[in-house]
Symmetry: C2
Subunit: 467 residues, 2 copies
Amino acid sequence: MNKLRETLREAIVEAGVKDGMTISFHHHLRNGDYVLNMVLEEIAALGIHDLTVNASSIFDVHEPIIEHLKNKVVTGLEVNYMGGKVGRAITEGIMEKPVIFRSHGGRAGDMENGSSKVDVAFIAAPCADDMGNLSGKYGPSACGSMGYAFSDAMYADKVVAVTDHLEAYPLADVSIPEGYVDMVVCVDKIGEASRIVSGTTRITKDPVGLRIAYLAAQVVKHSGYLKDGFSFQTGAGGASLAVAKYVEEMMEKEHIQGSFCMGGITGYLVSMMKKGLFKTILDVQCFDMEAIESIRDNANHQEISATRYASPQAKSCAVDSLDVVILGATQVDLDFNVNVHTDSQGYIMGGSGGHCDTAAGSKLSIVVAPLIRARLPLIVDEVLCKSTPGETVDVIVTQRGIAVNPKRTELKELLVKAGLPVKEIKELKEIAEAITGVPQQVKPEGRVVAKVLYRDGVEIDTIKSVK
Amino acid sequence: MNKLRETLREAIVEAGVKDGMTISFHHHLRNGDYVLNMVLEEIAALGIHDLTVNASSIFDVHEPIIEHLKNKVVTGLEVNYMGGKVGRAITEGIMEKPVIFRSHGGRAGDMENGSSKVDVAFIAAPCADDMGNLSGKYGPSACGSMGYAFSDAMYADKVVAVTDHLEAYPLADVSIPEGYVDMVVCVDKIGEASRIVSGTTRITKDPVGLRIAYLAAQVVKHSGYLKDGFSFQTGAGGASLAVAKYVEEMMEKEHIQGSFCMGGITGYLVSMMKKGLFKTILDVQCFDMEAIESIRDNANHQEISATRYASPQAKSCAVDSLDVVILGATQVDLDFNVNVHTDSQGYIMGGSGGHCDTAAGSKLSIVVAPLIRARLPLIVDEVLCKSTPGETVDVIVTQRGIAVNPKRTELKELLVKAGLPVKEIKELKEIAEAITGVPQQVKPEGRVVAKVLYRDGVEIDTIKSVK
C-alpha cells in the first residue's frame, strides 16, 4: 500500500472529485494558508464545477475563491467564519446559493450526525508520514493544534493530506491517525509561516479597551466563579487579552488555582499555565508561536478536537464545563442577542466561530465591546444578524457601564453590591445615542445571501444582500 | 450536566441494560480485572437475562462468568482471546450459542462497520474525571494503554466508565475523551494491581527456547528486513523476549536504527527504545510496570487504538507497515495454518488476539514454537482450529529446523544461503514423529461451540465440543 501521490492533481482525480461534490478544509494556517487556494486552482484547471466548499473558516488570503465563485467552480460555501474580503463579495450577492454559517461546535456536530456530508476533505498537515499520520506541531508551517480538522478526517469519504514536511513512518506524535487518511501529497509549501500567526495577540494599550477589560475582570471577580477550579476562555484580541491580564493579577493575588483555559490559545494563556494559574490548556487552535511551542513541548497543553471543544452532538464537551468566557460583538440588541457575522452596515466580516458554543455552555458569558464604534452605537433595537441568542448572553460590558441579562437577577445583585456601574441595556443604548445621535437604521432588504445555523443545526437567522 | 453515578447498579439501570442486549468490556486489566465480574454480578442481581458479552479478552479471573452462563444471564460470548478456565467450560458445551472469536483488529473493524453492535460498553478506567475523560496511565490500577477500549467507547450506544481514581476536571492527559462517555461510576477498586501485569515477561532460560529464539533472530537477520527503519513486534512470552534480546544485540552491533516496535509492550521493548534502537513504541496494551511508566512519561511511547493497530476497516493500520512479527502456535499444519485457539486436545485456551492481524500485515511473520510439546508434535496434518491462515505465515522456527512457506522462494534461498537449518515442513513433522511416534489424531466431533471470524469478519473455522 502506498498513499503518497506525486501531485495534488493526481490526488484530486483519484479521490474522485466531481461536479456537485462537497470538499472541505480546515483553517489552522489562518491567513497564511496556501492549501485551499492550491486545491481550488487545480480543480478549476480540471474543469470541475458546482462544488460546495466547507471550510472551517475563510480568511482574506482566500480571496481567489471569488474568481471560482464567479466561474461556478464553487457554487456552495459553508463556513464558521469569513473574513471581510470574501464577505463583501458574498454580501453583494456574488453567489446564487446562500452561504451556510455554522459554529465551530455545530460544524463538527453536523458532520457527526450526518447532516453535513463531505465527499473529499483536504487537510493541510504541517507534518505527516507516508501513511498519513498527521500532526500540526512540527515542520516549517507548524500551526500547533489541528483541532478543527478531526471531524473532516473522521467523516469525509476520502481524505487527502497535503503537507510540506514528510517524516519517516511512524510519526512519533500523532494528531490525526493514518486510519482516516487515503492519500498524502507533499508540496513545496502549505503556508506562509509568518502569516499563520495573525491578528492581534498583544494586550491593548487603548484606554477605552483597558477600561472595558478592567470592568469585565471585575464582573468575573464578583460573579463568584473566580475560585479554585476556575476555567476561562478569552479570545486573542487586544481587549480580550487585557481581561486575561486583570484576571491573572486577581488569581495571583488571591492564590487561585484554576483548572483549564481554552479557546484560540496565545502565549499569554501559556504563561498563565506556566505560572500554575491553570492546570491545563485545552487547545483547539493556536494563535501564536508561543502557543505552538507549548503544545509541542508541554504535556499539560492538550490538543482537543472541535468535537471535544464544543460539539452539541457529543455526550458532553469542554464548553459544558467552562466557567467564564469573554466574547466580542459588532452589535448587541435590547434582548442581548449578539451579532458577530456582519458589520453595522450588514456586510459579512466574521462569523460565530465558538461564540454561540461557549455562550451556551459557559456559566458566565461576558460580551466586551466599546459602546460606540465608528460613530455608531453598539446597542441597537435589533441586531442585523442574530449570531448568538440573547438567552445565552449574561453580561455586556462597555466602558460606560455594564448590562446584566434580566434572567440573571442574582448575578445582577452581586455586581450592584460590588459597586460596579450596572445599568439597564436600554440606558446604555441611550447614553451612546446621546453622543452619536440616533443612527439611521440600516436594514439590508435584498435576497438571502447567507443562512446562519445555530450549533444544533437549526437556522437561527439569515443575512440579506446589501444593495 | 452530571455524569457521576453513585453505584454501578444505578448506571446499569440508567444505561437501559435489558434482556437480549450486548454489553462490552476491554481487557487491559488482564487477570487483575474486577470490572467484568462486578458488572455481571449486578446485572444478575437485577434479574436481566440473555445478554451477549463482547469482551476483548476473557481471563481466568473471569471464571464467575461460568455461573452466569449456566443461569442464562449471559447467553452469547464474543472474545478475541479466552483463558483456559472459561475455555474448558465452553469446549465442554456449557453454552447453546457458539462463542464468536475475532482478532484484535477484526473486533475494532466489526464495530466500525456496524456488524458488531454494542448496546452498553463498560470501560474499566484507571483514571477519570467527572465528565468522563479517561486514561489508563494514572491511578492505583494503572494499566497504561487503553487501546482496545477506544472502539467500544466510539461505537457503543451507551458508555459507562468504571473507575477507582477520580481526578479534578479536566484530566490533563486524556485517552478516551468525554464526548463518548455517558456516565462515570467510582468504585473501591477496579482491579488487583499486582495481577494487572501478568504472564511471563522475563527472557526464557530454557535451552530449547533459547535455541528457537536464536534461530528466529537469524531468520530476521538474513531476511533482509533488519536494516535502518526496521519495525518489529514480539509477544511477552519468555521465548519471544529472547528473540528480542538477540535482535537487540544484532541491531547494536550493526548500528541499526529501527522505526517502531509494537504489540503487547514490556520493559524489554522500552529499554530498546531508550537505547535508541527504535524511534517510537506503538502501544495497544502494556504488559508490565516498566511499560506503564514509559507510556506515561515518554512522549515517544504512543498509545494507539485497536483501530490504529490493526483494523482492516481503517484506511491503513500499523500492522500494514510492520516488517517482522514473532508469533506463537499450539499447532501448525502442513499448509502453514496456525492454531492458537485450542490445545492439541481441542480445548479452548487462547485466541487470535493480534495473531492473524500481524501475520497478514507484516512483511515477515515468524512462528516460533518447540517441535514437541507434552510429547506431541507441533506440526500436524491439519490444525484443530485454523486461527491464522497459512498463506500469511512465512516461517516456522523450531529447535530442530526452520520451515519456509513455499510461497516465499526468495526468502527460502536467503536463509539456505546463510546456512540456516532450513527444512521442508513435512521433514520437521517427521523428525518429531520419529521421537514421539505418530500420535493418534484427536478430532473433536461434537457440536459447534465457537466460530472463528477472520479479521475481515468472515468465518474461517469452527471449534467443536470435546465429548
